[in-house]
């Protein structure tokens, strides 16, 4: 059975198609109307898979913050979808860490993959992609610069977790002539610290699958690994974990 999952996030809409054997994915910016972005994503994935737009028998499962504005066959929260998607990408992980554009979450899993517990941070920008995005504005750089911090950069610690205070701290550091790279490293460390706090609150042991928009940042991944002493695994498709999970749940 073929099944499509759409993960309608605040910044990007991710889409995945599961045909029983394979997964293909695509991504599009969410824009102002999440419903239209989701519709566009579904059209896009069908095109990519060479499926006729009106092909019958394909279920669509929606997840993410926009899941309720989209007429899907099924709606499932991003918690269950991320768990299912992460287990698919990295079998046997015991925990999922998701750091997205707007929120971050930690999901601990039963050995059979069911969700055992979860902790969400969606009230505060600290520890999310939004925090880095805000800081990038002040640093005059882009998010991708956070991914290319030269090795051996000595980190400049940032003391404030809160976006508002961190902003003035960063401006102050720049005024003192501190270079951008050490500041970027310090900001990543702050995001990592926030993630580690959530991970230790959730407890458990075993490998962690790192998903969401920030999962591609190798330095962030290494920092979390170092601080938790647990293996943190990211996957090339980890940004699509929610959409993949939705497609898999929809196929059941």
């Amino acid at each position: 059975m073929r099944s499509i999952g759409v993960d309608i996030g605040s910044a990007a809409t991710k889409c995945a198609l599961w045909d029983g054997n394979d997964i293909i994915c695509c991504i599009t910016p969410t824009g102002w109307t999440p419903k239209e972005s989701a519709e566009a994503a579904v059209v896009m994935i069908k095109e990519k898979a060479g499926i006729a737009p009106d092909a019958p028998g394909i279920s669509v499962t929606a997840t993410g913050y926009g899941r309720n504005v989209f007429p899907a066959d099924k709606r499932v929260t991003e918690i269950s979808c991320h768990a299912a998607g992460a287990r698919f990408l990295v079998p046997e992980v015991g925990m999922v860490l998701d750091i997205g554009g707007q929120d971050s979450k930690v999901i601990s899993l039963h050995p059979d993959g069911r969700v055992a517990d979860f902790i969400m941070n969606d009230k505060c920008a600290a520890g999310t992609g939004r925090f880095l995005q805000n800081m990038a504005v002040h640093l005059g750089c882009t998010l991708s610069d956070f991914c290319s911090i030269p090795e051996g950069t000595v980190m400049q610690p940032i003391n404030s977790m809160c976006t508002v205070f961190a902003e003035s701290e960063v401006i102050g550091l720049l005024a003192h002539g501190i270079a951008k790279e050490p500041i970027c490293a310090g900001l990543l460390d702050s995001v990592a610290q926030k993630a580690v706090t959530m991970i230790s609150r959730a407890g458990g042991s075993g490998d962690i699958c790192f998903t969401g928009g920030c999962a591609q940042n190798g330095m962030l991944r290494a920092l979390i690994e170092e601080k938790t002493g647990r293996r943190v695994i990211s996957h090339a498709l980890s940004q699509y974990a929610g959409a993949i999970g939705a497609a898999l749940i929809g196929a059941k």
Binding site: I79, V115, K123
Partner: protein
Amino acid sequence: MRRHHGRELKEEITIRNCVEKIDELFEKMREGVRNAPVAVKELKEAGRPIVGIYCTFTPWELINAAGGIPVSLCSTSEKPIAAAEQHLPRNLCPLIKSSYGFALTDTCPYFHFCDIVIGETTCDGKKKMYELLNALRPTHVMQLPQTTEHAKSLELWKHEVIKLKEVLEERFGASITDEKLTSAIKLKNSINAAALRFYDLAALPDPVVSGKEIMLVSDYIKFTFDYEEAIANVNALTDSLLDAYKSGLRRVSASKRILITGCPMGKSLEKVVDAIEAPENSAVVVGFENCGNLKCTHYKVREDIAPLDAITEKYLSIPCSVMSPNNERIELIRHYIKKYRADGVADVILQACHTYNVESHSVRTALASDGIPYIAVETDYSQGDVGQLATRFGAFAEML
């Protein structure tokens, strides 16, 4: 075959009659809550002393025996919070801010009519708020000991109960005799018994009412001052619900049963119940281990010992998070998980409520060892987080 048919027909008629009666009673209760301010006004005009209370610890029976009308001032609206923040810090529990804000702006009819306020030294925020409240209305604060494990606690609390008795007697020119106290105890016990009988419908295998309906009945009991009428209506409702259930009616279809615990619930926190009971979750709130609900009705005032001792004992044993240690709360939660067949527990914590927030860890740990899924949400009286609540409870329901 014919006989079978006859029975079905009879059941159908029973159900139809019951449903009519149930709708009628719920409507009557809604109306009762709506008209409560008028009822208080009329009592005031009839010369009855109106006594404002905020907390489950206030001995209701003493006020009743003094001829007074205890009226709950515990507020759950966001409206007066901005005004309250002129005097109070932002980083304070919304219940305290809302309650104070209503008093400050004189926009709560109950506060407007009340002659005196009774408070207790419960949490830090509340007891300091009472100091400010005293400038707006005479406020008598009872010194609440914060443990039941010390013999001296009971002694101190009894002293405070007697002092309250004297304050009420002097203020209202009443004499609170043992006889009056005994009948006040009987009355309150029978109100609580009617409430508990209704709450206990959740002990049946299938859900009988929704969490929203439970909240309505709690509110109705809280804001009905003709106590006999309240008892009669609640009992009639329970009877009709039971009859309909026995005849096969299932009003609520939900497969996952949630017990709520935590800070006092109220109108603004209906958003939490809505998030749990959203149709796609197939979940229902089967009970509230909160103030104004099971936390007060579960415990009876003994009728076989001296009335003042009985009152002292009952009120000190309320398992609120301001008490330390507060193991009894966990036992109470466990009791109702079992009795109401709960599949999971939702801890509703108000922002900046330190006692419930800290205690959350103990509850989580205890329930984890029982294998009971648990979720804690921190919220306030604004409606800004309904989306976040929907995701949390959606995921929690998917997890069960």
